[in-house]
Amino acid sequence: MDENYAELMPSFPLFKGFTASGAKRLLDSGEIKQHEAGAVLLKEGDSADFVLLVLTGTLEVFVDREGQHLVLTEAEPGDVLGELAVLCGIPRSASVRAKNDAAVLEWSDEAFRTLLLRDPSLSQRIFREALRTLVEKERSLIDSVIDAQEEAHKSYSADS
């Protein structure tokens, strides 16, 4: 089974240029876990002591607010989740559950930090991806604020 994942990983953009044995080494540095649809992999507010790489299936990143289930994004094979909370030493900012049956590679905090310290190429790629995600979130937040202001303005204009 590991061999299949090792063959699969180089097709993820994050691992472009990896050989199957290079990917196998990454798999060996973590633990492969299978999750059934609906299983919760991590919860908002939990302390962060592992990082996830989606191997197969889709994961849903969500928060529950005032009875509302808010899906923030979906993670597909090749996506890394939970790395910022681990690196910053902060609690999980959202929860993650399996949308369908999924396999993930789980790196412990220590294993993930070791990977980044030892392999400058991989750390550059992971940081680039993490920062890109943050920048996208920031843009989306700005768009939401602008939309909200426009709505408020329209509503104010309509009232007067």
Partner: protein
């Protein structure tokens, strides 16, 4: 003791600018051609005066009494040397610069050791050998090198750096030095070489690092395959 004092007392800390090849007063020393460049720092690199340590697993335990260097693959004659035998082989001195893929360059190094050409001559490398896989003592670590770079005049299996034995953290007792490629190709704790017809990714190359690793080409050097 302040950090600065610690640094200045480090014998490997370079307190002077790099010498020019003409200033190297060593008879018969081989001058690595890249030290003759007007700008010796490849694109995207910065000079360090220190001697940083980077490796995949940390220095492995190497028992000097049982240390062995083997030459295998596409050769007329397989070779095996003990450390004593290896140190008896004809040695040369090379003046060269050292460029790490993590963007630091340490200029002005003098390496003493056995030329790779000597090893190739003793083993009788077959004409179909186009690549070399360097084998190291740390957990089966390897790196692949095109044979034409392995056999450059300034490539050697070094056992002295600036006149002193190479410390374990820097790859001693013997490490490969290929000045014309990024330094990860200069395998630390080398235990042998295998001559190959086809290129075969080594440890870092399996993780997307460049198969050749020339610091002077490709705009930013041949660092990665992504």
């Amino acid at each position: 003791m302040s950090f600065l004092d610690t640094l200045i007392k480090d014998p490997k800390y370079q307190q002077q600018g790099p010498r020019t090849p003409e200033e190297i007063n060593e008879p018969d020393i081989i001058i690595s051609p890249d030290t003759r460049r007007e700008n010796r720092i490849p694109p995207g690199q910065t000079r360090t005066k220190k001697w940083p340590v980077l490796d995949a697993h940390g220095a492995p335990p190497v028992d000097l009494a049982t240390w062995k260097f083997e030459v295998e693959g596409l050769v007329e004659k397989r070779l095996a040397f003990s450390l004593d035998e290896f140190l008896q082989l004809p040695a040369v001195k090379v003046y060269s610069d050292f460029h790490c893929v993590t963007r630091w360059s340490r200029l002005d190094n003098i390496w003493t050791g056995v030329p790779t050409r000597e090893i190739a001559k003793l083993a009788g490398v077959k004409p179909e050998a186009k690549f070399v896989l360097a084998l190291a003592y740390d957990h089966g670590w390897t790196t692949n090198v095109p044979v034409e770079y392995f056999l450059k005049e300034d490539s050697l299996f070094a056992f002295l750096h600036d006149g002193a034995p190479i410390e374990p953290e820097h790859g001693g007792p013997v490490r490969l030095i290929i000045p014309q490629l990024y330094a990860w190709k200069s395998a630390k704790w080398v235990r042998g070489v295998r001559f190959l017809a086809d290129d075969q990714a080594g440890f870092w190359e399996e993780g997307g690092y460049h198969m050749r690793g020339n610091p002077w080409t490709g705009g930013d050097g041949e660092r990665f395959r992504w």
